[in-house]
């Protein structure tokens, strides 16, 4: 199928506007991520209907910059890939409209990609060759989702969180401990000098076979340990640096125990021999070490997303090549599939 050399990918599913150029051999030539808001005041308080103003302002400069940094010309683009699911309606629409327009103007195929699946494809890019079938684990601020991936483009959800995502728990605990946003990296840093056994936080669902997660209770337990149980007269010790370090270490240990335990269960239940892990929490060093330890015990292969492709980016949308190569092209009446998180 086709002889395209360069793929332009566009990712606008949430609050970041991102574009990348990826060569057919999955080599990333450029990856631009814009998160800053610069043009606020120009628009006053008027809200355009169902369209994300932030993405509208950034999308063309971001695409331009991706093409420029890749050192190609726009006419060199042979296929356009865009994330259409899941995300915010207005945000996704801006990306999809830009992608459709470029696909028409350049007369090249359009492919649509699932944002969550793209997080796992970051692992395939690190491996440099096909890694599927595999258990795929996306652990981020928005997702804690385990998939059985038959191929890069076919996956079944095995289980996910029933309340907060793991990355969200890291950030909220960081806020409880008075750390700056984003809190995940701060927790990891403080935990290194803390005692992970200082507080015994619950490992929710760890010892039941269902592949599901819950981090809301853990977050509340840290809150009460840090600030005291509401209504209780027992005085709470001052939140000293060493207490913060102990809370961070104990929280991180509890969260990681559950994440690792569920991966192990998923591998055993499905018999898959490869585990790939992506999403922002996959950048956490303690989590990466615990994963390494678990897979070596099970004799299973681990493929981690490179740290630079753990958070939202368009490079992981190289997944679009898999659709292109299978001839799975999108029609021009393709629409976005917003907010429904579990499909």
């Amino acid at each position: 199928m086709g002889d395209a050399e360069y793929l332009l990918s566009i990712e606008t599913s949430c609050d970041e506007t991102s574009a990348a150029i990826v060569r057919r051999d999955r080599h990333v030539l450029s990856n631009i991520v814009a998160t800053q808001f610069e043009l606020h005041e120009r628009f006053g308080g008027v809200v355009p209907e169902i369209a994300s103003r932030a993405h509208l302002e950034r999308i063309l400069p971001v695409i331009d910059e991706a093409v420029r940094q890749a050192g190609i010309s726009l006419t060199g683009v042979g296929v356009v890939a865009v994330a259409t699911h899941p995300g915010l309606v207005g945000s996704l629409l801006v990306g999809l409209t830009a992608a459709k327009s470029l696909s028409l103007a350049l007369d090249v195929p359009l492919v649509t990609v699932n944002h969550v699946a793209a997080h796992l494809y970051a692992c395939r890019m690190a491996a440099g060759a096909d890694i599927f079938p595999a258990i795929g684990f996306v652990v981020s601020g928005g997702h804690t989702h385990l998939f059985d991936c038959r191929s890069a483009v076919e996956m079944d959800l095995l289980g996910c969180t029933i309340d907060d995502a793991a990355g969200e728990a890291f950030d909220k605990v960081a806020q409880i401990l008075g750390l700056e946003y984003p809190g995940g990296p701060q927790i990891e840093r403080l935990a290194r000098d803390g005692n992970s056994a200082a507080f015994s936080f619950a490992r929710t669902f760890l010892h039941e076979p269902a592949l599901r997660f819950s981090f809301s209770g853990l977050k509340t337990a840290v809150l009460y340990a840090a600030r005291g149980t509401p209504g209780s007269r027992t005085p709470v010790p001052e939140l000293t640096t060493s207490r913060i370090q102990d809370l961070a270490a104990s929280f991180q240990a509890a969260a990681i125990d559950v994440l690792i335990g569920k991966c192990e269960q998923a591998l055993k239940q499905t018999g898959r021999r490869t585990l790939c892990v992506g999403g922002g929490v996959a950048a956490n060093g303690a989590f990466r070490s615990a994963l390494e330890e678990m897979v070596s015990r099970l004799g299973v292969r681990l493929v981690l997303a490179p740290r630079e492709f753990c958070t939202d980016n368009a490079a992981m949308m190289a997944l679009g090549w898999e659709y292109y190569e299978r001839g799975l092209l999108a029609a021009f009446d393709t629409d976005v599939i917003p907010g429904l998180m579990r499909s």
């Binding site: 949430c14 609050d15 808001f37 606020h40 308080g45 809200v47 355009p48 169902i50 369209a51 994300s52 103003r53 932030a54 993405h55 899941p86 995300g87 915010l88 309606v89 207005g90 945000s91 981020s140 601020g141 928005g142 996910c160 969180t161 029933i162 309340d163 907060d164 995502a165 990355g167 969200e168 950030d171 909220k172 806020q175 409880i176 599901r212 809301s216 977050k219 509340t220 809150l223 009460y224 149980t229 509401p230 209504g231 209780s232 917003p338 907010g339 429904l340 998180m341 579990r342």
Partner: protein
């Protein structure tokens, strides 16, 4: 009959659940519910109970803190669940087009609504949750317009939930 405010104690998680189920019976398309309360006050829990009452399995209703909006189309009414916690400014609410939340066919529920109050429809039901002790929450409900007040009155009339 309309009423401006109603304050009650939720003595357990099952009381929070009852409130969510009562809300689910009372809401109509276009209604906006604004949740205000600190971390751990039970905002997501209340939303899960509302969802359950609308026919959406509550364990499928997860926190939209990072993803910003989750939409559930499988209940009696479409439910759109938003969280303003992570926004760095109220303007971001408009910049990201989050007002998609207020589509007329469904019910919108917003956590940390006080952070974006200037961008919310004027007529809404505000639910202010506070933690009394480990299991008890207090909820203060205020209608900020005719429809919000009607919801408060309906909930008051139908007590105990």
């Amino acid at each position: 009959m309309t009423s401006a405010g109603l304050t009650c104690k939720l003595v357990s998680e099952s009381a929070t659940r009852s409130l969510g189920l009562a809300l689910a019976k009372a809401v109509q398309p276009g209604d906006v519910l604004a949740l205000i309360g600190d971390l751990g006050a039970g905002k997501t829990r209340l939303t899960q109970s509302l969802a359950l009452g609308l026919g959406v399995p509550s364990d499928t209703v997860t926190s939209p803190t990072f993803t910003l909006i989750h939409e559930y189309q499988n209940g009696r009414l479409p439910l759109r669940h938003c969280d303003a916690y992570r926004l760095q400014s109220a303007e971001e609410f408009a910049d990201l087009g989050l007002d998609e939340l207020f589509a007329e066919d469904g019910v919108a529920i917003i956590e940390w609504a006080d952070r974006v109050s200037g961008y919310l429809p004027r007529d809404r039901l505000e639910l202010r949750l506070s933690v009394m002790d480990e299991t008890t929450r207090q909820v203060e409900m205020t209608g900020t317009g005719p429809r919000g007040q009607q919801l408060v009155a309906t909930l008051a009339e139908r007590r105990p939930w």
